[in-house]
């Protein structure tokens, strides 16, 4: 029924190509900054949560609260409510560049929690062995925690990137550009389902590729 009503001849493949490229760029930069902010944040959450100093535990409570708040606000609302902030940081709130701050602010706390969870999986005994060998805190992070949790971290990056794919589509709502933007403009506003369908197919393929790549990396780093 649908296929009978859909005419793919009016899909502008050039525009589709540009939108795909925009999505890939949004994804790349938002993932990059999410890692840059989320990884240290996740490590900090983990280290402060198991520390026995009172100051560290207080810091953990504060960080944890902020992360929980950011994670409980729906992305659409977060995206709209931080428009002024976005303008200050990158000078615009639309297009590929304008979409990156809200994407990162939404995804970094999520990724930080995944990092924290992965680090918790590392055998306490191994951390203890490193401590007994005279490793400093920094060495424990760099030489024990990160290598030992690499499969978990890679799985976390994959999950975060896939989540970001759907976020980039949502940022189309405020003119963020990319495939989501295209799908909404044509499919919803002008009622041209063909463009929407192709956009969605491209997104599905993108997610598939990311997941396959992620799974392969996880496998490569699993030594257990």
């Amino acid at each position: 029924m649908l296929s009978a009503a859909v005419d793919f001849s009016n899909v502008d493949w050039n525009e589709m190509g540009i939108a795909t490229w925009d999505t890939v760029r949004m994804l790349f930069f938002s993932t990059l900054f999410t890692m840059i902010i989320g990884l240290p944040l996740g490590i900090l959450l983990f280290m402060t949560s198991r520390s026995d100093s009172n100051g560290s535990r207080a810091l953990y409570s504060v960080l944890s609260l902020i992360v929980n708040i950011l994670r409980s606000v729906p992305f659409v609302i977060l995206m709209i409510s931080i428009i002024p902030f976005t303008k200050i940081v990158v000078g615009t709130s639309i297009g590929v560049i304008g979409s990156i701050p809200p994407l990162v602010i939404a995804a970094a706390p999520f990724f930080a929690r995944l990092v924290e969870t992965s680090l918790r999986e590392v055998d306490r005994g191994v951390i203890e062995a490193a401590t007994a060998m005279g490793a400093s805190k920094g060495q424990i992070v760099g030489k024990v925690l990160l290598p030992e949790s690499m499969p978990g971290l890679l799985a976390g990056i994959t999950i975060t990137t896939v989540t970001l794919v759907s976020y980039t589509a949502m940022s189309g709502l405020i003119g963020g550009g990319g495939l989501g933007d295209l799908a909404i403009r044509y499919g919803y506003q002008r009622y041209e389902p063909s463009v929407m369908i192709v956009s969605v197919i491209v997104l599905v393929v993108l997610v598939q590729l990311l997941q396959m790549l992620g799974d392969r990396l996880v496998l490569k780093f699993s030594k257990k």
Binding site: V126, G134, S136, K223, K224
Partner: protein
């Protein structure tokens, strides 16, 4: 070399507290293999982990050589810890690193030059007999092989002391013995002091020079293994020795059932050292004229010291019996009339 001074460790918060160690004093001498034995929950791990301050005591001091390490800063402590190797019941190897990289780990922590690492790790692999496994991951090794990697890793920084936390408890008896032999070699060849904790008397008996028995957070008995083993004083020590001797209960039943009087007694004789191998008993009874039956006899070694134990039933006049005992006592380690 290691001295624990009035060590107390309390776990928990204001509401619920467990005292794992209480005013514990202990001195470990350079070059010895010191065993600490105790039941589960006695405080063994807490004690061992206090030596390198993986566990900070609630009060008391830990001395390493002439340094009070409880007073050191975190950085200074890291430095001291490199002089103490540690091995664990569950090995605690990096699962993401090969055998080679696991052993190289402590060397890389102190930025050892690459060639030196290569040479050191190769020597250690040879020492623990794992040369052909250097590129394997821990998941590909057996328990005994993993512990060998653990030992090599612990030796990489040329430590003065090796701390062993139930190092053989996860291993089968045969593998246990091969690991114990390796530890003994390390102690003899490299002169490294070894402190080990265990709940198995067998381990103590096989390699330790001195032993301390820990119970409810306190040392209840300590001394040279031969002495503690042959003259156990505390109830817990006796239990451990009994556990080693599988036939103890059967023997008790047999002894119970034997008729005894002034002219027939059951005696336990302990031999130690070279007298173990001599025909003392048969020579003595020939002169005193008593007759005897051996109910049970064991012969074993404690580290390098041979020792034997005989449960003997003597029959004869009271006078002859006493003369026999005196003669035996003058030649062997110990004699005790059981019934």
């Amino acid at each position: 070399m290691i001295r624990l001074n009035q060590l107390t460790k309390t776990y928990g918060n204001k509401h619920k507290q467990t005292t794992a160690l209480q005013n514990l004093d202990l001195t470990i001498t350079q070059g010895e293999i010191f065993g600490i034995i105790g039941h589960s929950g006695a405080g063994k791990s807490t004690l061992l982990r206090s030596i390198n301050l993986l566990e900070r005591p609630t009060s008391g001091e830990v001395w390493f050589g002439d340094t009070n390490i409880t007073a050191l800063s975190e950085k200074e402590l890291q430095h001291v810890r490199r002089k103490m190797g540690m091995i664990f019941q569950h090995f605690n190897l990096l699962s993401s690193a090969t055998v080679y990289d696991n052993i190289a780990f402590p060397l890389r922590l102190v930025r050892t030059p690459k060639e030196e690492i290569e040479q050191k790790v190769s020597n250690l692999l040879k020492l623990v007999g794992l040369e052909e496994h250097r590129n394997k991951y821990p998941a590909q090794l057996s328990g005994g092989q993993k512990q060998r990697v653990g030992i090599a890793r612990a030796l990489a920084n040329d430590p003065q002391v090796l701390l062993c936390d139930e190092a053989t408890s996860a291993l089968d008896p045969q593998t246990t013995n091969s690991i114990l032999r390796l530890l003994l070699d390390i102690n003899k060849q490299l002169g490294i002091t070894i402190v080990l904790i265990t709940h198995e008397m067998h381990v103590i008996q096989t390699i330790c020079d001195r032993v301390a028995v820990i119970h409810d957070g306190n040392i209840v008995e300590q001394g040279p293994v031969t002495e503690v083993f042959l003259k156990p004083e505390h109830r817990v020590t006796r239990e451990f020795i009994r556990e080693e001797n599988e036939n103890a209960e059967l023997l008790d039943a047999i002894i119970e059932s034997l008729p005894t009087n002034d002219h027939a007694q059951v005696v336990k004789i302990n031999f130690l050292g070279t007298s173990t191998y001599e025909p003392i008993l048969s020579v003595i009874v020939q002169t005193t004229g008593v007759s005897f039956a051996i109910l049970q006899g064991t012969i074993a070694t404690m580290k390098d010291t041979p020792y034997g134990q005989l449960i003997v039933r003597f029959e004869g006049s009271q006078e002859a019996l006493e003369r026999t005992y005196r003669m035996i006592e003058s030649q062997v380690h110990e004699l005790e009339v059981i019934r």
